[in-house]
């Protein structure tokens, strides 16, 4: 059968003997494995053997990893102490906001922590905040990185509203809400008579210290306004050495977060009593936030979190279970598809439909449950946040840490709708 197209008419005879360049006589495209889709290929087919081995291998790898992770997490000793409620004096528990905003009341608070297990140095001190949305878009944008890096760009305060300039038009360095709301509780630790000094060096990431915060940039006009949002900064120390600020400005991912406060290079023994003298300065009362002090050790895997270990164990266990289940299924009910294909026109068979339906239903239910849980948490937080806003009178001179109203205050955020705003 002649498989050449019409172009053979130009005499395909005897040319082979004439030698010279091989002249193609046909219009057939040059054969190549790529264009003919005949590249060497591997065509995996799922067989029961493959299924069982894959699940088994995954299970066998995951279970030991899970055990190791869980052991590492269990090794971590963590002491958590929530102090924002306890540190309010008993006569002011009805009016916490007045307590925190009143400069004359002493904010010093003494807490006693008991060490549950031996803790080896270095012990990390964190402060943990709850219901504080450092990941809110308006908040995250409210900074100017050029100003932080370069002393000559101190006037660049765009996007820093409302904390960009003083009333006189002088630029605030560092500008923005993130810097303005710097956490200002302080902690001092003693064990008996021994003072456990907190090493506050090297708590921030090296790349932040060296490249994002300039060595020649000094704070100026910071926290000078009527509203103080947080800590003040020493104007003589350059930003690259203001590690608390650097740690704070690396915004957290979720409303509950921890930030490193410092390290203690002492070993703590079980049943030691650590006395914490803290200054409860930061106002989390106006938005229903919580403050906790955390002392924790760390292993190669990090801090205390059982989730990874449990997840590995559960997934590994599930895989091994599935391996056994499929092995059993293989002997009890051999798969139906090996052999001559049976004719089956049309869509799904009835038991395929049921199968699809139950799988879909299970997945939908799981998704729905997760959504409900997630949104109820969010709804609770939003409702609480919205309704806990207390009326703020601007006549209140120089309140300390009166930050809570700012983020949610529609009047305050009216600049948001200003044409020049974002």
């Amino acid at each position: 059968m002649n498989s050449h197209a019409a172009g053979t008419s130009n005499g395909g005879s005897g040319d082979a003997a004439a030698g010279g360049a091989a002249r193609r006589n046909t219009r057939m495209p040059k054969y190549s494995k790529f264009t003919q889709q005949e590249l060497p290929a591997c065509k995996p087919i799922l067989t029961p053997k493959w299924v069982v081995s894959v699940f088994f291998i995954v299970g066998v790898i995951f279970v030991p990893i899970g055990v190791v992770s869980l052991l590492a997490a269990r090794d971590v000793v963590e002491i958590i102490d929530r102090y924002d409620e306890a540190c309010v004096p008993s006569n002011m528990t009805e009016n916490k906001l007045a307590y925190i905003q009143n400069e004359t009341i002493s904010k010093e608070c003494i807490r006693n922590l008991t060490v549950t297990k031996d803790m080896k140095q270095p012990i990390f001190v964190y402060y943990e905040l709850d219901n504080f949305y450092q990941n809110h878009r308006r908040y995250v944008k409210s900074r100017n990185d050029a100003q932080l890096r370069d002393a000559s760009k101190a006037n660049q305060t765009s996007a820093c509203e409302p904390e960009k300039t003083t009333a006189n038009g002088q630029p605030i360095v560092p500008c923005g809400l993130i810097a303005w709301s710097l956490f200002n509780d302080t902690y001092n630790f003693t064990r008996g008579n021994e003072n456990l000094t907190v090493d506050k060096k090297d708590i921030s990431w090296k790349s932040d210290r060296e490249h994002k915060f300039g060595k020649d940039v000094y704070p100026s006009n910071f926290q000078n306004g009527a509203l103080k949002g947080g800590a003040t900064l020493n104007p003589k120390i350059p930003l690259s050495e203001q590690e608390d600020l650097i740690v704070w400005m690396r915004t957290a991912a979720l409303p509950t977060f921890r930030k490193l406060y410092g390290r203690i290079y002492f070993d703590l023994k079980e049943n030691d009593t650590i006395t914490v003298r803290l200054n409860n300065n930061y106002n989390t009362y106006s938005f229903g936030g919580k403050k906790r002090l955390v002392l924790s050790t760390a292993t190669w895997l990090g801090g205390k979190n059982d989730f990874l270990g449990f997840a590995y164990l559960i997934v590994g266990g599930l895989c091994i279970f599935l391996a056994f289940a499929f092995t059993l299924l293989y002997f009890v009910k051999p798969s139906t598809s090996i052999g001559a294909p049976s004719i089956n026109f049309g869509g799904l068979e009835p038991d395929n439909q049921l199968f699809c339906f139950t799988t879909l239903l299970t997945l939908v239910l799981h998704t729905a449950i997760l959504l409900i849980v997630d949104f109820s948490v969010l709804a609770k937080a939003s409702v609480y946040h919205y309704f806990s806003l207390t009326p703020y009178t601007s006549g209140n001179a120089n309140p300390i840490c009166g930050f809570g109203r700012k983020l949610g205050d529609h009047n305050y955020l009216s600049w948001n709708r200003h044409p020049a705003g974002r």
Partner: protein
Amino acid sequence: MEAVTRLVKIRTSKTTLAIGDGANDVGMLQEADIGVGISGAEGMQAVMASDFAIAQFRFLERLLLVHGHWCYRRIAAMICYFFFKNITFGFTLFWFEAHAMFSAQPAYNDWFISFYSVAFTSLPVIALGVFDKDVSSRVCLEVPSLHQDGVNNVFFSWSRILSWMLNGMCCSIIIYFGSLNAILVQAVRQDGRVAGFDILGVTMYSCVVWTVNCQLALYISYFTWIQHFVIWGSILIWYTFLVIYGLFSPAISATAYHVFVEACAPSPLYWLSTLMIVVTALIPFFVYKISRTLYYPQYHDQVQRANSKNW
């Protein structure tokens, strides 16, 4: 003849194919849903008016049975997979918003988002849409009833589309909540530092890229060097991009500055959680695929399995 074609098309509501080689067939070819023109003795007018051009009438068999079957499967799979990968990615952003007061703060650095569809997940989809084969051409010709898959719309039915979308949503849930719970709030490394917004973003994004690419690897049934190159290459491109982008000055890279090299790569927690999340996200689809192909096989599964040895 176009009147006849139109009549058939409207009255039966079926997809019509017309084949012709001459100038008188042009009207019919244009009227039909698919016009196949034959180039040759009667000139090129039919070819210019057609959707497909072949050289001989007998090539129609190959066109329909081999290329028709392959292309239908490829295009349907590609579209479903496209929905899946974008839903997986997009929904992680959405779940993050639930924890960011719905303030429209993206969970990832802006350039990560921009490059998702361009650099990290585009080539594997092309590999799926252009190269995937479930059975060889010989089998396609020997088992013409495979063509009925297209007629019955097996690969692009609503249940398939919605299942892929649901798969995407479940993957995104697993990725988001897995990363969240594994990385936050405790220290992620031995030096006691915690994960902020940037580390969570990188972890989640890495999980998304790994999951969608490995999901593709689980789906396709024909692995040449091209598929390996684009699938594993895309994952490699992501890490390379992360490193290179992190090297640009903070004025450009903002939150991604040195984040991989300094924070994520030395942290065993990052790698272990990526592995766990990716495998967990892929298990539902894998179980479904096993159950489908081994215990509730459809016709094309059976044909594929029966002919797997003699390709």
